[in-house]
Symmetry: C2
Subunit: 313 residues, 2 copies
């Protein structure tokens, strides 16, 4: 028995996840590979093709009706990735075209966070919601804004870059070349930057000090869970900046919920209680105590795979 | 010959404008009155009813098929005005209901800036645009966001309050009770606050000094046109804050254009050249040199009257 299947691919700053999905949102097969370590984008796509061949074979290539791809700075309208600060490829990459030529399939591209938002709306925490924001706290900070039940792509397909809202004027240098962007503070790499800066500037005791120079977000999470005051202060600092910036986004789209996704979101209430406090403190009265802060209801990278695959239907 | 007509009412922080509009967007009759100076909202509506009677009589009451109202903090979903810092009435006002009871008409309410955005989209500078922001620079700063050709009302009907995005952390006190909101800097009253502060703190010569304590935005405009350096610096300062904040809004909705409306927008390039410079300087590369900054194509309060009337159809 054959059934139409979609291939969903989520290209992240660190890893790339992919899966074969049926129309009901069941992921039949999936896999992952590193995004980095390939000399060119062509080499990356060649390696991806090899990985995909393994799972495509299992379901039968003839059943695949199309490919959806989510990637940072991916443009739904043009099929291009443009100047993505967290990907190894510079400039404008015609990704949909390259993948299409490699796989001989119709390929639709969107921003990775938009793909995750579509996944949550169709199958996850945003089911039935018409107005919400999905925020990915991973290598960078991405976002997808949904209003009136529709993805906001904007005039040119690049809408939804809350990670590049200036959270701290004249703040820390961002990968995009500007200063103070939200993602230099509220991503997994951002909280690590804060930790390393503080370890340089401060002398207080912390179990993180012995890891100076090689801190990871996971170490900060574990230190926080162990009650380390320095780590908990890092979450408070990061949560304050994120909460303040989200309050400004609420004033623009007035969402029912903000759904968090990605590595740093796994730190849960250690981070989120501060996000909530500072978001609420900075909200105009008409928005107070209305916006749910919640987490992706889909395991791991599934939201982005499902969202990317949903582009096919 | 009879034709269906709509009554459009635009309630601003200072004045209220109203007009009778046909389906093609022709304003057949119009008028205005002060918003302030009435003891209660009921008194305001009674005075408004008297004013409206004069123009309704001219077109024939039977031809009016409905009433649309734009007002600060007006909620499309509930018909209420809630906690509007620039209106004389406190708390939550069931405005649509009160006007409906007074005029014996069906009444639809929305935010004044949303009404102006609808007016521009149907009849003005945003004709044919699917993604734009309308920004009103009047007593306060209001905004209407349109994405995918639809007004963004948000989950609760209160979306689009760019005037209450925090433009300056720990900045000047705003009428809403918080600090640093865009409208405390970039409205007609905001630039006056800046002028009075500077006149207190600084000693440089300016033709505005003799007006200290009673500065108006119009005086600043005239001083700027006369080449007064102090006034021109006020426009530069105001434009910088507005441009920076608009750059953040562009990162969220990626509009084709930002359309300015309201008293301060009439200062034109004196203000706008600085808005453009600082917006562009703060845009992520993918957004640079794409967003048109333009002005309302509708005379005076017509955009809001037309937009409010369009709610009827």
């Amino acid at each position: 028995m054959t059934q139409p299947l979609a291939l969903g691919i989520d290209i992240g700053g660190t890893g790339t996840a992919f899966g074969i999905v049926d129309r009901r949102g069941q992921i039949l097969e999936k896999g992952e590979m590193p995004t980095r370590g390939h000399a060119t984008v062509q080499d990356f796509i060649a390696a991806l093709k090899q990985q995909l061949a393994l799972i495509i074979e299992k379901v039968g290539a003839d059943n695949i009706v199309g490919v959806g791809v989510g990637a940072p700075n991916g443009n739904f309208y043009t099929g291009e990735i443009a100047y993505a600060p967290n990907l190894p490829w510079e400039g404008v990459i015609p990704l949909a075209k390259l993948v299409s030529e490699s796989l001989h399939q119709k390929v639709t591209l969107t921003n990775d966070a938009n793909a995750a938002a579509i996944g949550e709306m169709m199958y996850g925490a945003a089911k039935g919601m018409k107005d919400f924001i999905l925020v990915t706290l991973g290598t960078g900070v991405g976002s997808g804004f949904v209003a009136n039940g529709q993805m906001i792509y904007g005039h040119d397909g690049f809408a939804g870059e809350i990670g590049h809202v200036i959270a701290v004027r004249e703040g820390r240098r961002c990968g995009c070349g500007r200063n103070g962007c939200l993602e230099t503070y509220a991503s997994a790499t951002g909280i690590v930057k804060s930790a390393e800066e503080w370890l340089n500037d401060r002398t207080d005791e912390t179990i993180l000090r012995k890891e100076k120079g090689r801190i990871t977000a996971k170490m900060i999470h574990e230190a926080g869970e162990a009650g380390d005051a320095f780590a908990l202060e890092l979450f408070a600092y990061t949560g304050k900046i994120l909460g303040q910036t989200l309050a400004d986004a609420v004033a623009i789209t007035s969402p029912q919920a903000i759904i968090f996704f990605g590595g740093l979101a796994k730190s849960g209430e250690m981070l989120m209680k501060h996000v909530r406090t500072h978001m609420e403190a900075n909200l105009l009265k008409i928005y107070k105590n209305k916006v749910q802060l919640t987490y992706s209801a889909l395991p791991d990278a599934d939201a982005a795979i499902l969202g990317a695959s949903a582009l096919v239907w």
